[in-house]
């Protein structure tokens, strides 16, 4: 029952978010700030995670290649496909749900408990549109950039790990990366990313915006935002995979 109530409240919230901004100049200025807060500030963590996990994927694949019938370029192929299909769009999005989601929920939640949102409403500002829309648009615009960046670094990390351990040659690895490459997989990954970005920011904003109480409640809302947006990502991942790859 509570879940249904929350879904209804979330839908109503979105109808208030997606309205025309009062002043486009202010919206653009906030959008640029959010691109920096949500997007650019996430580059270091995405770079770190992608490089190391790309390396680990390549090493794990190489260590399992005991069957001589498997071609050597399989290491590159598996690194490429697992990175493009799942690791970069989904796992990085789950990591971003933790970083961006908690940040969004606590920022908006603090504004709620310190009456800053009431102050906006009293002035006649649509606070949901003013606060949440630039964050959602920033996530939709910049998450695909982060994911392409992650894919590149992950495959580079795989190559570095293989070179350091001398398990294969650059030519074989690159051959594997290019083998059976399906450009639609990039479309699939970026489509998922856009949906995940939207879910992370909107779900986290929902928990922040409707928080009641004080700092403890803001902390709880922040945790709840991360948990719920992660669950939303997992459910959406399953549905999108079914729709885009199997139908």
């Amino acid at each position: 029952m509570k879940l249904l109530q929350n879904i209804g409240k979330y839908t109503l919230m979105l109808t208030m978010v997606f309205t025309k901004p009062k002043k486009w100049k202010i919206f653009l200025s906030r959008l640029i700030n959010e691109l920096e807060n949500i997007g650019i500030s996430s580059l270091p963590i995405v770079a770190l995670m992608s490089t190391f996990i790309g390396g680990v994927i390549a090493l794990q694949t190489a260590s399992s290649m005991s069957n001589p019938l498997l071609p050597k370029y399989t290491v590159g192929y598996i690194t490429q496909s697992s990175t493009i299909l799942e690791f970069s769009p989904t796992i990085i999005s789950l990591i971003l749900a933790g970083k961006v989601g908690s940040n969004v929920a606590s920022e908006i939640g603090t504004m709620r408990v310190t009456e800053q949102i009431d102050a906006l409403e009293i002035m006649g500002v649509n606070s949901l549109n003013h606060l949440v829309l630039p964050k959602i648009i920033a996530a939709i615009l910049f998450f695909p950039v982060l994911i392409i960046f992650s894919m590149t670094l992950s495959m580079l990390g795989g190559w570095m790990a293989l070179m350091i351990t001398d398990l294969t040659t650059t030519e074989t690895y690159v051959l594997g990366l290019r083998a059976f490459f399906n450009p639609f997989h990039i479309t699939y990954a970026l489509t998922k990313t856009v949906v995940f970005g939207f879910l992370i920011v909107s779900v986290s904003s929902f928990y922040g915006y409707y928080v009641k109480g004080g700092s403890i409640n803001v902390g709880q809302a922040s945790t709840q935002a991360v948990v719920s947006s992660s669950v939303a990502i997992l459910v959406a991942n399953l549905i999108l995979t079914q729709l885009l790859l199997l139908s």
């Binding site: 009062k22 002043k23 100049k25 202010i26 310190t114 009456e115 800053q116 009431d118 102050a119 409403e121 009293i122 002035m123 006649g124 500002v125 649509n126």
Partner: protein
């Protein structure tokens, strides 16, 4: 003038406001007083539309705010300035940006015109030259004054102040009270102040509404509140030993 007609409000079945009728007059500082938890802030939040009333009407100079759509309400809200109990300054913006915010949002002023208005408002609250500070770098009293500067930046017709003196020392409280009284007269605003500070009642109580158990219990001015025989008001006004002492001196003088 703001008129409150038969306003009722409850939360989870508990009646918080019962049949409140009152008029807040233009050009005067109108106080809403009462003990904590009696419904003062709820009434103020109902008036400005942060809470929807269950029954009754709120009229701003005859315009029925209660039945308005969101768009129409935003037009009235552009005429309202509010100082919150916790000030509610935007902590990511500087003092100047806080005061400029409603101007950039709702007017077509040029940058120069906005800067002039910001400087005027800061000067009016005796904070000239503090434009580039962030709220966290300001003292409590300064934050209240910045809140007032932001509230008057749009030249509002209605000013609401929720516990403007909470957390301030008595001397700073008097400065804030004086400021509210002066700007009310200067801009001919309808000012509503929610307080339980007796100093404010004596300093600026031109019109007073006493709320008790969610009801309008009494109304009058600062002179009549000191002489009323209403037991609930007596226990509120003369709660401290100091005020009791003053009362006995006043009674002695009368006899």
């Amino acid at each position: 003038m703001i008129e409150v007609k038969n306003v009722m409000k409850s939360f989870n079945g508990q009646q918080v406001l019962s049949d409140i009728n009152h008029q807040f007059e233009t050009g005067k500082v109108n106080l809403i007083i009462g003990q904590s938890g009696q419904g003062k802030s709820v009434l103020a939040k109902c008036i400005v539309g942060l809470y929807e009333v269950d029954e009754g009407q709120i009229l701003f100079d005859g315009r029925n705010f209660t039945d308005m759509e969101r768009f129409e309400r935003s037009q009235i809200r552009e005429e309202i300035g509010m100082l919150f109990q916790g000030v509610a300054l935007f902590d990511s913006l500087t003092v100047e940006q806080n005061i400029m915010f409603p101007l950039t949002m709702f007017t077509n002023m040029t940058k120069g015109e906005m800067q002039k208005r910001v400087d005027f408002c800061l000067d009016r609250v005796n904070l000239s030259g503090r434009n580039k500070l962030f709220p966290a770098e300001c003292s409590g009293g300064m934050q209240k004054r910045i809140g007032i500067a932001r509230a008057i930046s749009m030249n509002p017709k209605y000013l609401f102040c929720d516990e403007p003196n909470s957390g301030l020392d008595p001397k700073t409280s008097i400065v804030i009270d004086g400021l509210i009284k002066d700007i009310t007269a200067e801009f001919n605003m309808t000012t509503v102040v929610i307080t339980h500070d007796m100093n404010s009642v004596i300093e600026i109580g031109q019109s007073i509404l006493f709320i008790h158990q969610g009801k309008k219990w009494w109304s009058g001015d600062k002179n009549s509140i000191l002489t009323t025989d209403n037991p609930e008001i007596l226990s509120f006004v003369y709660a401290s030993e100091f005020m009791k002492e003053i009362r006995s001196i006043m009674q002695e003088k009368r006899t």
